[in-house]
Amino acid sequence: MTLPLLGRMALALSLSTAVLGPVAAHAETLSIWARASSSNAAQHMVDLWNASHDDKLELTTIPDNQMVTKLATSVQSGDVPDLISFDLIFMPDFMKAGFLTDLTETLGADPNQAKVAKAFQDLASYDGKLYGTGFTPDVSILLYNKDLFEAAGLDPEKPPVTIAELQDYAAKIHATDPDNISGYYFSGSCGGCNIFTQAPMMWGSGAVLLPTGPDTPVLDGPGVVEVLTMLKDMWEAGIIPESAESDTGANFTATFETGTVGMQGSGGFAISSLKANHPEMNFGIAPLPGIEDGQQSSFVGGDVIAIPSGARNAELAKDFITWSLTDEAQLEGLAKNLILPVRTDLADNEYFQAEPRYITTAQAVGIGQTPYAFHFNDMVNADQSPWLTMIQTAVFDGDVEGAIEEAREAFLDIASD
């Protein structure tokens, strides 16, 4: 099938304009902010875009825990970036505050948007409108040490599928060398780490954790009690190392890297860093277990991309967002650099073939969820948030019921603001 002559001429003409560049259009520079955790991925996307577009993007990295403050103050002062990539859990707060540009038209007409992981579609909707889309996802998984599995007589290809199994395996691993080997690890003073890694075990069985208003369910369902009790039992049995209690997340990855931890909830990012720092380590990746088999779940984290209200180059920024969902951007910008694509249909791609653990992780993005809540920062991420206090009181003080009761009150108190 040959193109008609006219078509070929038109194509040649358009190609040559593409090469020669636009005749009169003046190239713009767009500013994009990304938080430190996702800046590596964002940089790959920015580089890929800049290589093939006249309008250049300029990336600014903001420390994770300062992103919200920074965006809020910049909106107040009217000096905003054109694009912003931030932790998706802040979406509800920002949409409600009117900080973001409505992208319903742009994304509604885009066939790629439907393939974006559902968690991102949900979190970016408010009042029937869309304000952003997935950009650089991450997802929580169970990380386990295959060598320690073998040493404990467990099958390294059969990670636990229920929390009862998890507890049982952890005890067995710990028993191989009680002084040096821990069965399980978590960062006991880090709210963000634990919503990421412990919460999915709770909601796999349908539990609802965070309230969305004053009269909505909160910490509802047996999963909450069961998971907290499991952690408490493991703590009391010495299966979790003592250092877990004071870890504010600083050793979220360092502890597992020492090779003395059997299992730990972690994120997809751990694969790359483990392979880089400890190529000798024999580790496996699995979905986080639930109460019953088949209730495995995960927390979809990572970043959404959105356009702040009042951005100077909003139209160009929309072009970038549309482009970021194309096969080219998803595969060449993300997957090629071993970063998860946000489109679930691309989970199994040529770049991940060599490392099936990436495919497991990318598929988890599809089954995972993200709680839709206002004041998430206050409830979960803040130092000494009610969420963190609940975990600490339940696990380290051993008062599961009291901890849940106290957290319910505190959550509702925050939600009623």
Binding site: T73, A250, F252
Partner: protein
């Protein structure tokens, strides 16, 4: 001390050795943390995160410093911004504090005590709380996102101490010197420039140093006021390095960042120590 106590020689010698031993212990305690941090910074990243840790690096590696050098916009950009902001802050501080110290020390002012207390006000307010109003005011007049704006905030933070120090330095100058000059018909400004400034130089150097150190290390205002990576300062980079993913720390890179952050301060201190301490001695005890 020219005192000679009435003790036997062996006793006195034992005492001297004891004092020397205490001095050596104190020196070890003071330098230890920095030395250990430096050793950690030249370990390989894997060894820097090892648990349990080693005191000395088993193999030398510049990898941690490489990370810091190339972090985002690059260390040179951040350091350049930090130096620029510190320089403006120093100029602001001196231009304001030297005359103010002179005025407070050598003139009879109405409401002198009140003025002095007002100048010390920034000491007593949690400045973190003032940042938001200041930032919003700055965005109205176009000072937000500028090095000048940030330097103004840093100067505000440093002003009370600077004025206090300059006032004491001026007060320490004997009256006769001034009177002789005034009899020769010099104006008060000439007295300040020709006679007093050389005399309060140690105090000026101390003000410069402290302003530099505090500006170089200030994080929160720098983060809130600056909107471009190309205008960020060193501490912002350090905090980014520290937070990592979900708080997971790259320990080696962090120590490299710590060393890079303290290096200019220590260099300046070592080079200007003579001034530094004498500025204190003249200024602080009155």
């Amino acid at each position: 001390m020219s005192a000679i106590s009435q003790k036997s020689a062996p006793m006195a010698r034992a005492q001297r050795y004891l004092v020397a031993a205490i001095c050596v212990l104190v020196i070890t305690l003071m330098l230890g943390p920095m030395v250990l941090s430096f050793f950690a910074s030249i370990k390989t990243p894997a060894e820097a995160s090892a648990s349990p840790p080693n005191y000395l690096p088993h193999s030398l590696s510049g990898e941690n410093y490489g990370k810091i050098l190339d972090y985002q916009a690059g260390l040179s950009t951040y350091a350049g911004n930090s130096f620029l902001v510190a320089a403006i802050a120093i100029v602001l501080c001196l231009v304001l504090a030297v005359p103010a110290g002179y005025g407070l020390a050598r003139f009879r002012l109405p409401f002198k005590e009140l003025i002095f207390v007002l100048m010390l006000a920034p000491l007593m307010i949690p400045y973190q709380a003032l940042l938001i109003p200041i930032y919003l005011n700055f965005s109205k007049i176009g000072l937000a996102n500028s090095h000048l704006g940030l330097a103004i905030v840093h100067a505000v933070l440093q002003l009370p101490f600077s004025i206090y120090l300059m006032r004491n330095a001026f007060e320490a100058i004997p009256r006769e010197i001034e009177e002789a000059a005034l009899i020769d018909g010099a104006t008060s400004f000439q007295v300040l420039r020709r006679i007093f400034l050389p005399l309060v130089m140690p105090g000026v150097v101390t003000v410069m140093l402290f302003t530099f150190i505090n500006s170089w290390n200030e994080f929160l205002a720098a983060l809130i006021f600056m909107n471009k990576e190309s205008s960020f300062t060193v501490p912002i980079m350090l905090v980014s390095v520290r937070t990592g993913r979900l708080g997971a720390v790259d320990w080696g890179a962090l120590q490299a960042g710590v060393i890079v952050s303290v290096l200019p301060c220590i260099l300046i201190y070592v080079l200007l120590q003579k001034y530094y301490v004498s500025g204190f001695l003249n200024g602080a005890v009155k």
